[in-house]
């Protein structure tokens, strides 16, 4: 009995000490949080004011006109709404070309990204000392804008879909390689140890041990990249690689009277993205086994 009361007495100041220490820690955390919030708001406000003062037109004057251009496009498209289905049919072949460029570049870039990601994940890499160089290689692939690579390649190879495909594939390899390698980091090493214990080589360990764990995540990143690449290949059409981007540029730049074509192309692009979004979530669920 005496022992228990003694133990309680010695425990009581202990608890209050822990409470005080924890409350002090909470106060410090809250103070830092508050200071960070104030700094964040101050930086955002001052940054915005600075950018606005350097702006040619001024944000507040321009913001009211933001809907003027889309409004003009929509107004003209509404007048010629009956022509739009025919225009969509007319532009459909160029859309196919654009989607083809995106698909081929996603596939080639994705395969390259798989190899790069496995070589640049710590704990999995075939050559652990070369993890850094492979990462820097992916950084370079991501850093150079695809439009620059495409312009250089168009200069060398001439206009057409192949330079656009190569340019997008290189960028895809860098971007997906980074994402894939982050997925690989979360893969469990236990199956790999199991495969190593039976004498499997590196390639076998990667294909049979890592890929089954990470494939669903790889696929969803690759499909997202495919959507991004459709848009990128449409943009590259502006610099002369064919596809729907070329038609879009012509419709835009030849001035008045072509906004119905612009509307038709945007509708086509929107429908394509929706279609591939639906397709990709369907097949991803199938792979994960949720359907």
């Amino acid at each position: 009995m005496a022992d228990t009361s003694l133990a309680r007495n010695s425990a009581a100041p202990d608890t209050s000490a822990i409470q005080d220490a924890y409350l002090a820690m909470t106060r410090t955390k809250r103070m830092y949080g508050g200071i960070m919030l104030v700094i964040f708001i101050a930086l955002m406000t001052s940054g915005f004011m600075l950018a606005d003062s350097r702006n040619a037109g001024g944000f507040w004057d321009g913001i009211l006109n933001i809907f003027a251009f889309p409004g003009e496009v929509l107004a003209e498209a509404r007048e010629k709404v009956t022509l739009i289905p025919a225009l969509m049919v007319k532009f459909f072949p160029s859309l196919i070309e654009t989607v083809n460029i995106a698909a081929a570049s996603t596939l080639i870039g994705g395969l390259l990204a798989v190899v790069l990601s496995l070589l640049s994940t710590r704990g999995l890499a075939r050559f652990p000392t070369l993890v850094g160089p492979f990462r820097r290689l992916m950084d370079i692939l991501r850093a150079v804008p695809e439009i620059v690579i495409a312009l250089v390649l168009i200069f060398i190879l001439g206009g057409g879909p192949v330079p656009a495909m190569i340019a997008i594939a290189l960028h895809t390899a860098g971007a997906l390689g980074k994402l894939f390698s982050e997925v690989n980091e979360n893969a469990s090493l236990k199956p790999l140890e199991g495969l190593e214990s039976v004498g499997a080589n590196w390639t076998q360990r990667m294909i049979l041990g890592v890929v089954p764990q990470v494939a669903p995540n790889w696929l969803s990143y690759a499909l997202l990249r495919f959507e991004i690449n459709i848009r990128a290949s449409a943009i590259l059409g502006f610099v002369g690689s064919g596809g729907i981007g070329y038609d879009l540029k012509n419709a835009f730049s030849w001035g008045q009277g072509r906004y119905d074509e612009v509307a038709a192309i945007f509708i086509l692009l929107f429908l394509t993205i929706v279609l591939f979004d639906q397709l990709s979530s369907h097949y991803r669920n199938k792979l994960v086994g949720k359907v």
Binding site: A11, D14, T15, I18, Q19, Y22, L23, R30
Partner: protein
């Protein structure tokens, strides 16, 4: 107090829980035993409303719990704490924050988003941790603690809810015998000192016998045994597990006492033989 009537849960063609009925008149400690897949977890999850019932009714003090929705359902969940086999704590948050999660139902979303809790709640959380003997770990991240300590944090979170009922789904299945005993002692104390009802899924018979006032046995989703621990003979246990005469408790027991008893018995037989 708690009345369950013909509670059924179907997963596609499988019936996990099949027309289960029982009544709890006064606060007590109940152990549910049965082999894996017998529907014990699904039953507890339905009481907490983590899983919806296909048919049947759960009534608590005359209120139909199965029909609750939205806010009312979350308020019930706050009254009916759940402890999981794998602890289900937020691993990257500190122990006290994990315990404070027990008050989420009473606090505004905005305040909890920024981890802002009243000072009184923080003090109470640390008092509860002290009661369970882990107050010195208060500022540590939950993932830095051992399994037994994490389970006691989970119990502290349950106590922070100030619940009427504590449900424990295999609370000691991933713990070693020593920690298992500490956790079960804590659950028993929650019942004895606070007068709360504790319903625990257990997978060892000796734990059920030692700690519970009432034992319910389930097989293939049905209740096949409902009685006091004394009535739970080896024969009754064989029926619950659908086992034959080769079934022996001591061979798989994880309790330290049982091992000792078995050891003493072995010694005696050896001595007798000599």
């Amino acid at each position: 107090m708690l009345k369950i009537t013909k509670l059924t849960r179907k997963f596609g063609p499988n019936t996990a829980v099949d027309a289960v009925s029982f009544t709890v008149e006064k606060p007590m400690m109940i152990g549910i035993i049965g082999r894996s897949g017998a529907g014990k977890s699904t039953l507890l999850r339905m009481v907490n409303r983590l899983t919806d019932a296909t048919e049947g009714k759960i009534e608590f003090e005359g209120r139909d719990v199965t029909a609750l929705k939205g806010d009312a359902k979350r308020a019930w969940q706050s009254d009916c704490a759940m402890i999981f086999q794998q602890f289900n704590l937020v691993p990257r948050m500190d122990v006290v924050s994990n315990v404070l999660h027990g008050t989420l139902n009473r606090r505004s979303t905005l305040a909890t988003m920024f981890n802002l809790y009243p000072q009184a709640d923080i003090c109470r959380a640390i008092e509860i941790l002290d009661r369970l003997g882990i107050a010195e770990h208060a500022p540590k991240r939950a993932e830095a603690l051992s399994g037994g300590q994490q389970q006691r944090v989970a119990i502290a979170r349950a106590l922070m809810q100030d619940p009427r009922i504590v449900l424990a789904d295999e609370p000691i299945a991933s713990l070693d015998p020593m920690n298992a005993q500490l956790v079960m002692d804590d659950l028993r104390r929650i019942h004895e000192e606070d007068g709360r009802t504790v319903i625990a899924n257990l997978h060892t018979l000796d734990t059920a016998r030692r700690y519970c006032d009432r034992v319910i046995g389930m097989l293939h989703g049905r209740i096949v045994f409902d009685g006091t621990p004394e009535q739970l003979t080896t024969g009754a246990a064989r029926d619950i597990y659908g086992a034959d005469a080769g079934f022996s408790e001591t061979s798989t027991s994880t309790s330290i006492e049982t091992l000792e008893r078995a050891g003493v018995r072995a010694m005696r037989t050896a001595e007798a033989a000599i």
